[in-house]
Amino acid sequence: MTEFIQQVFNGLSLGSIYALIALGYTMIYGILRFINFAHGDVFMIGAFSGYYLGIIFAFASVSGFASLGMALLIMIGAMVICGLLGFTVEKLVYKPLRKSPKLTILITAIGVSLFLEYGGQLVFGADPKSFPSLLENKPVVNLAGAVIGSNPLVVLVTAGILMVGLRLIVMKTKIGTAMRAVSYNPTAASLMGININAVISFTFIIGSSLAGAAGILYGLNYPSIDPLMGILPGLKAFVAAVLGGIGNIPGAALGGMIIGLLETFVTGYISPTYRDAIAFGILILILLFKPTGLLGKKEIEKV
């Protein structure tokens, strides 16, 4: 039982990171109907932003650990950097191609992804870096022998807050309503006076800054980062987004949690060899049997 509780917790804290990345995929798909394959690498840039900000700020403190406020500041810094990155990539690369066939944009996204990965190797170096200890990890909950550390708990709580925040933005604000309108029907939305370009930029900024936050949380949980670290989590978050129903925000969160839990259970109880196979096996099954995903709605193609 102890083991099971611990595994559930391990899975949730991994899953919450997948969920944050998956949100970006799903939001951008919802607005533009295209998969931004560079999204996993934005997540990597987030982790590296945290690494350099952490070196600048945290190591100035005496204890070796940053204060909670400082850690928050570093996370916000990384989110801003990634938001700007997302904004710039969209403006420079995707916007000129908006009228081109979907395949062109998809291939361009892969190009942006490779550019960030190998550009990252050039700038940051190829060897893994040890992520700064932003917060000291203390055992918080001891549930029948299952130790839950403060860092994984911080990851889970922060991810939860960000997801609720996103939900509020999308459902309660004017720009959120505009986003939903564009997602529903871009032409009609623009006829109603909605500034489509602004909405698309906003979506990229929000999605990328969530990936940036995920990068920091990942570094907190697994403090070794390298320029290719975004590939696998990026792909798995993509699977999570498809599993939940691509374009559906609560679906992405749910999908991320499911993938995280399944991976942890497979590794812990069956064999770690199948860890990666599980995510992609799910992708195949979902595409075969329920292509709209768990929470996705069937879209009627207008002819």
């Binding site: 083991e3 595994q7 299952a146 697994y222 590794t267 812990g268």
Partner: protein, 372 residues
């Protein structure tokens, strides 16, 4: 016809350049990538050996030139660069790699082309079994498994051990198998075997399964980058037992970041201790520090020795002819290197003692020496 002749002349002049006033020796190692300190340390050690030799007048009245290529720690790259060293650069001998998986990728190419290869630190027995041109200057893993088993049972007096191995890595799986057999033979109990793939970042699922079996220690034959993360996550889920490792742990990056506390009081077996008062070792440390402004690790010591026995074999052969050099390498006996006396046995392996180091405050402290 003219074109053909031109190519022929070109090729011949190219060869002459290679075998002219310099002896070309090739090296391959992971200068970048997840196990970069392996390649950087071994290159530094080898460069020191070459530099000293050239300052003392060179070898066979020629200077030795070292050509080093980066294989990024990948077996496929290792094959490419070894091919390049032999075919394009016409080296007369090859030194490398540290990681057994990469040595196993490079060695068949050296064997096919009949170029002697000396690995400084690959301990997997299969490496030298590839052929009679492949040598090593370190001990092999069956011995290392015995050393670790004895240490856990006799010195630490612990009997229940869990095993965590890297399935993508020949060194790790080989050593894990030898350990499992040896430890059981000596009366110990393996309570759980878990595995991961090099490059994984999340080890909590495996560690949680290990924790459920209540082991008294965990043996992790793996490389330092993964061990660094494993140790941090083990402590996070409340696993407090000592982690025991092998020579793949040897890197200053092992205790980077939070792992400094996580690995406090843990042990690993390796080739040499920098605390050893032996004047040869201390002299090497002084020279290395003066040149690189860093402490040498085991990979630097071993690469230096690999260079020394290669030069010795060439001196005895009186030529750089690969076959004669190979025959002389096989005859090396009681050669005094920085890591102790080196004798090459029939399987082209060196028979040498191992040391156990304890991690204290992020530094590696000498614990005990185990003779073969």
């Amino acid at each position: 016809m003219i074109a053909l002749t031109a190519i022929a002349i070109f090729t011949i002049s190219g060869c002459n350049k290679g075998g002219g006033d310099e002896i070309l020796i090739g090296e391959y190692g992971s200068l970048t990538g997840p196990n970069a300190t392996f390649g950087i340390s071994s290159t530094n050690g080898l460069k020191l050996a070459v530099e000293e030799l050239n300052n003392a007048g060179g070898l066979l009245n020629k200077k030795v030139k070292l050509i080093t290529y980066d294989d990024q720690g990948k077996p496929s790259e290792a094959q490419t660069v070894v091919q390049r060293l032999i075919k394009n650069d016409n080296v007369v001998a090859v030194i490398g790699e540290v990681a057994s998986s990469n040595s196993k990728a490079g060695a068949p190419i050296c064997q096919q082309n009949k170029i002697p290869m000396i690995t400084p630190a690959s301990t997997n027995p299969e490496v030298t079994a590839i052929g009679d041109y492949i040598f090593r200057v370190c001990f092999i893993d069956p011995f290392q498994a015995t050393v670790v088993s004895k240490f856990i049972l006799n010195t630490l007096k612990l009997k229940k051990v869990a095993l965590l191995k890297d399935v993508k890595n020949a060194y790790s799986t080989g050593l894990a198998d030898f350990f499992e057999k040896e430890f059981k033979n000596m009366g110990g109990e393996i309570v759980e075997v878990q595995s991961f793939s090099a490059g994984d970042k999340d080890f909590k699922a495996q560690l949680t399964s290990i924790k459920a079996k209540n082991p008294e220690a965990i043996f992790i034959p793996a490389y330092y980058t993964d061990v660094n993360l494993i140790s941090i996550q083990a402590r996070e889920i409340g696993l407090t037992v000592p982690l025991i490792g092998s020579d793949g742990w040897e890197s200053e990056k092992l205790t980077e970041g939070k792992a400094k506390d996580a690995l406090e009081g843990c042990y690993f077996s390796t080739h040499v201790s920098t605390e050893n008062p032996d004047p040869k070792i201390q002299e090497f440390i002084t020279k290395y520090k003066a040149k690189y402004n860093a402490m040498p690790d085991a990979m630097a010591f071993l690469a230096y020795d690999a260079g020394l026995i290669l030069f010795e074999a060439m001196k005895k052969a009186g030529t750089t002819d690969p076959e004669k050099v190979k025959n002389e390498l096989a005859k090396i006996k009681d050669f005094s290197g920085v890591t102790g006396k080196i004798s090459i046995n029939e399987q082209r392996n060196a028979i040498k003692p191992a040391v156990i180091l304890e991690i204290k405050g992020g530094e590696f402290k000498f614990k005990e020496t185990v003779q073969p």
